[in-house]
Symmetry: C2
Subunit: 177 residues, 2 copies
DNA sequence: GTCTATATTGTGATAGAC
DNA sequence: GTCTATCACAATATAGAC
């Protein structure tokens, strides 16, 4: 593994465990076995490391939101895709996207903020209804899928069995009504 | 309002908006119209301010977990109480409890960590079953109640109407199966 | 109760040698 | 590519005057 990728792997883990603000360049450098200055050869700033880590998950999320907007997916397909996305990004998204500093950065750098993308998915789950009641239920179902997946990953040592995937999907669909 | 309470009100809002780490003593002091040093007359440290803010919500949460452990509540009663708790602590709990620095402090200061209390409630929702499938569904229902309530509060300008409360409760119960 | 002044530490980041 | 040395700054916190 080249150094840039190593840095990302370490930063990913530390950001997930301690948060973005709670992790210093020195923390990452220590884990890698170099001095902080060495990191600046590979990435021009701490925020640049964050960007590199989030680029792929955010692109996948944007893609999911785009498919949701198209209206060509059933609720089951949409929730299933969201469950799979949650599995792939489990360590990172919850911790990092809850850091206000990170959110502010993403809001000014992305065409659509993560919150807007979530809205697109939730709106599609509500069958594009603008009625508050449908949107409340859709957001509850979205949360059920996310946290149900997280719970299943906890019990499955980090992997989601097909059986548990079915269970979580059925639970979220039940919530959706 | 006395100064101590004013400080808490300001800190509560800033912590909710910018996170604990993202808010400095200087930020709070500026909002109050004094110098940072003045705050140290009222609270011995920034963590002390945090403790004062969280004491009441955490006690309420611990009480809810205790009632869950007693096994004397139905799933509907438990979820209803959790929805009401979520309404009362809406600004604070999500942001603050997702800051790793805050979590670490709470873990070492409380008899039961917030995560343990959540487990107690989720276990009760699973009817004290230790089967992973039941616990996964229970956690999904718990999340549906939480985020459904948050969505309803968004649409209701910060208040939860009886109608929306019924809706969220029904949605979470449906997820629970 | 609040101020000024300051100690102290941590952090992101740069310059320049090797 | 990595180092040493260092800067600039922000943050928590304290001392002591008013």
């Amino acid at each position: 593994m080249d150094t840039k990728a190593q840095i990302l792997a370490i930063a990913r883990e530390l950001f997930a465990r301690q948060g973005y603000r709670g992790t210093s360049i020195a923390d990452i450098a220590r884990e890698l076995g170099v001095t902080p200055a060495a990191l600046y050869y590979h990435y021009i700033s701490k925020a640049d490391v964050l960007d590199a880590i989030l680029a792929e998950p955010l692109a996948a999320y944007a893609d999911l939101a785009e498919r949701a907007r198209s209206g060509r997916l059933t609720a089951a397909e949409l929730l299933g895709a969201f469950i799979d996305f949650t599995v792939e990004t489990r360590q990172l998204m919850p911790v990092v996207s809850s850091d206000p500093a990170v959110r502010a950065r993403l809001d000014e750098r992305l065409p659509h903020s993560p919150a807007e993308m979530a809205d697109a998915i939730i709106s599609a789950l509500a069958a594009s209804s603008t009625e508050p009641k449908r949107l409340i239920v859709a957001r509850a179902a979205y949360a059920a899928a996310k946290d149900g997946t997280a719970a299943a990953l906890d019990f499955g040592s980090g992997t989601l069995s097909p059986e548990h995937r079915k269970l979580v999907l059925a639970t979220a669909l039940r919530a959706l009504g």
